[in-house]
Every structure is written in C-alpha cells, then in structure tokens.
C-alpha cells in the first residue's frame, strides 16, 4: 500500500527541506536530516541523538502512539513516474549465518533458489524482530528522492513488502556469480539484488504513476549569517 501526505504534512516536509538547504553546516540531505524532517512533517517526537543513542534498528522514525515505523532512505537519482529505483536495504552476510538460516552448507556454489530463500529469511527476520522490538505494527518505508542536477525532489511512502519464500525466481546475473537477482514469478519485476562480495542486499522499487514532486529554492546562508541569525536566540549566548 502507498500512502499520501496531507497538504499540511507535505508543506512541513518542504519547509523542513528548505531549512536544511539553508543551513551551512549541512552538506547533504541524508540520514538524520531526512529522519528529523520526516518526523517533523508527521508531527512526531523522536529521540534527540544529542541526548540519546541512535537506534540501529530498522525503523528510523517511530510513531509510538500509532505504532507506525518508517525505514527512512534518501537517494540521489533521475526519478520518473513509473520508473524504477534501487536501494540498499540490508547488509546480508548469509554465509556467516548459513546454519541459522537453515542451509548449513550454503556457499556461492549453492543453488540460486537456496541462496534466495536464505536472503528472504534473513531480511524477513530483520523486519519481524525489529517490528517487535520497536513495537511497530504498520511497517513502512519512506524514500526521499533528489535529482542530482537540480533541486527537484520527490518522495514515496509505502508498506515494506515481504515475499513468501517460494514467490520469487532467483538467478545469477552472469557466470561470474558477482550478483544474484530475485525476480517476480512472471519475470516482469526485478525485486532484489544481492552482491556476495559486499554482502549488500538491494531492493528495487517501482515508482507510482502519480509521483509527487516539488522544487526547493535553496537560499544557502553563509556561516556568518547563520551564526548571527541563530546565536541571539540561544540562551546565554546573545551577542
């Protein structure tokens, strides 16, 4: 399921991004910057990493009242409606965990189907364990997309998809076995990609036809301006 933002949430997202692009101490719109802006857009209080250790769990932002969790991703890419993007979703060392995944002798020489099932078990276990630990019942992914050559952004919020072990078709990209692909049964959608060398597990996302895009008009402050603007509002540090 895909979710849409209310007009107010959308405006708060844009305002948050506009503020981030103005701050001369921020060099990229990624990671905690995006997490905190999403939380702001959704009007959710999240732990401040200055005072609490950031969780390494799947859900970067959690609405504890509604039990909604978001895995937050940002990607610079040339996005288009109905286009496809790919994101790293997990570091999946399935050889190290072969036994607990039910394939004690798993290796690159195992069948692609076995490797694929091991990957799905590894990923599904992460989703289920972290949902339980973070008390999340609605498991979602939020993706902020940014074009490299302009200040156009888009975003997608949808449920995290979980696939049954027998629902995908797995094959190596080529004979060198550097990349394993997981395709939908009808062969039309490339869902997952895994690289045994780096252990990175990628998911492919097909963007909706009605892709919500917007532009930010960056007004980048000089550091001296930001210091001047903000310092006078800090207690005990007024100029």
């Amino acid at each position: 399921m895909t979710y849409t933002f209310s007009a107010e949430q959308r405006q708060r997202l844009i305002n948050g991004l506009q503020a981030a692009t103005a701050i001369p101490f921020i060099d990229d719109i990624e990671d905690f910057v995006v997490e905190s802006i999403l939380a702001y857009a959704k009007d959710i209080d999240i732990p401040d990493p200055f005072f609490e250790t950031r969780s390494k769990r799947l859900f970067d932002v959690v609405d504890t009242n509604q039990r909604v969790g978001w895995s937050v991703k940002s990607l610079q890419c040339p996005f288009t409606p109905l286009g496809r993007i790919e994101l790293v979703i997990q570091r999946a060392d399935i050889f190290k965990k072969a036994e607990e995944l039910g394939f004690p002798s798993l290796s690159k020489d195992s069948s692609p189907a076995d490797l694929g099932v091991a990957l799905l078990r590894h990923w599904n276990r992460k989703i289920n364990e972290d949902s339980s630990l973070q008390n999340v019942s609605s498991r979602r992914i939020f993706m902020l997309l940014k074009r490299a050559d302009s200040f156009e952004y888009s975003f997608v919020e949808e449920d995290i998809k979980q696939y049954d072990e027998d629902s995908l078709v797995w094959k190596w990209t080529d004979r060198t076995k550097t990349g394993l692909q997981g395709w939908s049964a009808d062969g039309r959608q490339l869902i997952y990609r895994w690289y045994p060398g780096q252990k990175q597990f990628f998911e492919g996302f097909y963007l909706p036809a009605e892709l919500d895009t917007f532009s930010i008009h960056p007004v980048r402050l000089k550091t001296a301006q930001a210091v001047h603007l903000l310092l006078e509002h800090l207690p005990g540090t007024g100029e």
């Binding site: 405006q11 503020a19 001369p24 540090t237």
Partner: protein, 231 residues
C-alpha cells in the same frame, strides 16, 4: 607539539559549534559541521567535500588544515590516538622499493613502508590542493560536551626517524617510537590497515561547554524565515 588554538579563532569556532549544536537537524558535531565552523573562524569560504587530506585550505597563504574531532577525556597531558590513514603496507610496498613484505618481514622495513605511504599521501595531497603550510586542527570533546581546540604542524617523517616494534607476539599492532624513548608516535594495525597518530594534550588549556538548548524545527523555520522563501 600540540598547542591550543589562538583564543580569537577558538572562540569563533566554539560560537559556530554552539549554533550548530542548537540546530535540530544536526545529530553530531564532527565531520562537515566542524569543517564549516573552522572555515568560518578562519575567514574562509564554505569547505568543499573532498577525500583529500586537507579539509579546508586558505589559498592566499597556501595553508591547509586536516581537521579531526575526537571524543576523549579532557585532562592535562592526556595521550590521544586517532586514525590518520588507511595504509595497506603489505599490499603496496613494492612501488616504494621495498619488494614484497609481510608480517614476517623486519618490523623496521614494515615501518619504513608505512612512513613512505604516509609521506606520499601528505605530499601528493599538498601538491594537488596547493598547500605549502601543512597544519592539523584537533577538536577534543568529552562526554559532557566540553570541548578544547588544538593545532600543530602536520608532520611527515624521514624513514629513519622512528624505531618500530610489534606490540604483541600476535603482530596485531606495530608501534613507531622515537629512538631511545618509550614514546609512541604512530601505531599501525595490519588487519584494518589503519595508521594511528598519538598526540599529547598540553599541560594547560581552557575548555568550553557546547551544551545549549536545541531549537525545534518550527523555531528554526521561523528564524530562517523559510516559509516566505518556499513556493
């Protein structure tokens, strides 16, 4: 020798860091935040992200600063170690004329390869970045958000200047010391190929608390007047 940065510069860096600390989109003081604060204090433009050694460069004076942020207790004469390079000495010894080396090689030879890799990095990046005066700036931050700021020349080493020895029989760490002293200057770990430098904090220095109230994003947007700029 590490010394405290001059007060005026130090105060400007700390002011900028206090402001950064109040911004609710920033989750830690280090990396680009610190580089931007130092560039501001030194009257330089916005730092450009790069993978080179010198994080900020004053092109007029041809001075480059490598900037580090280190979490450590702030007490007089504390020894602090931090990574300065990934130095794959076993894999890259041959271009420096040492042939193929391994953990079984003479520690002095391994050490010379480590120094060669470091010197090469410093000199190559100084040339590429137009830097003649090579400096380092080190922000040390304790667990209570007190900070102090130090600087020193960024050193290269003549290959004979250090004596090398393994820290244990397992050969997990190789120490470079000044000859005849017990003072570790560099430490290299073959497994992660990381080269550490050790510095000693001065006898006296001042520290400042960066603790400040965090703004909310709503407050930030209001103060930056973002709404008017947004279409």
């Amino acid at each position: 020798m590490l010394v405290e940065v001059a007060q005026e510069t130090r105060d400007s860096v700390f002011t900028a860091l206090k402001v950064a600390n109040a911004i609710p989109l920033i989750h830690q003081i280090g990396g680009f935040v610190l580089e931007a604060a130092c560039a501001y204090a030194l009257g330089l433009g916005r730092p450009k992200s790069n993978k080179k050694l010198f994080d900020i460069v004053d092109h007029d004076t041809k001075t480059g600063w490598s900037i580090k942020s280190i979490k450590h207790d702030l007490h007089a004469n504390a020894n602090i170690e931090y990574v300065i390079q990934r130095a794959n000495a076993y894999g890259k010894s041959e271009p420096y004329g040492f042939g193929k080396i391994s953990a079984r090689s003479d520690p002095q030879t391994i050490g010379k390869v480590v120094l060669s890799l470091w010197n090469q990095k410093v000199n190559a990046d100084a040339k590429a970045q137009g830097v003649i005066n090579k400096r380092k700036l080190i922000l040390v931050r304790d667990s209570l958000d007190n900070v102090a700021l130090f600087e020193d020349e960024l050193s290269t080493f003549s290959l004979e200047s250090l004596t090398w020895r393994w820290t244990s029989h397992g050969k997990a760490g190789l120490q470079g010391l000044f000859p005849g002293s017990d003072e570790t200057v560099l430490r290299w770990h073959p497994s992660g190929t990381q080269l550490f430098e050790r510095v000693c904090l001065p006898e006296t220095f001042s520290k400042v608390s960066l603790r400040t109230k965090r703004l909310t994003i709503d407050q930030l947007i209001t103060k930056l007047n973002v709404r008017r700029a947004t279409k």
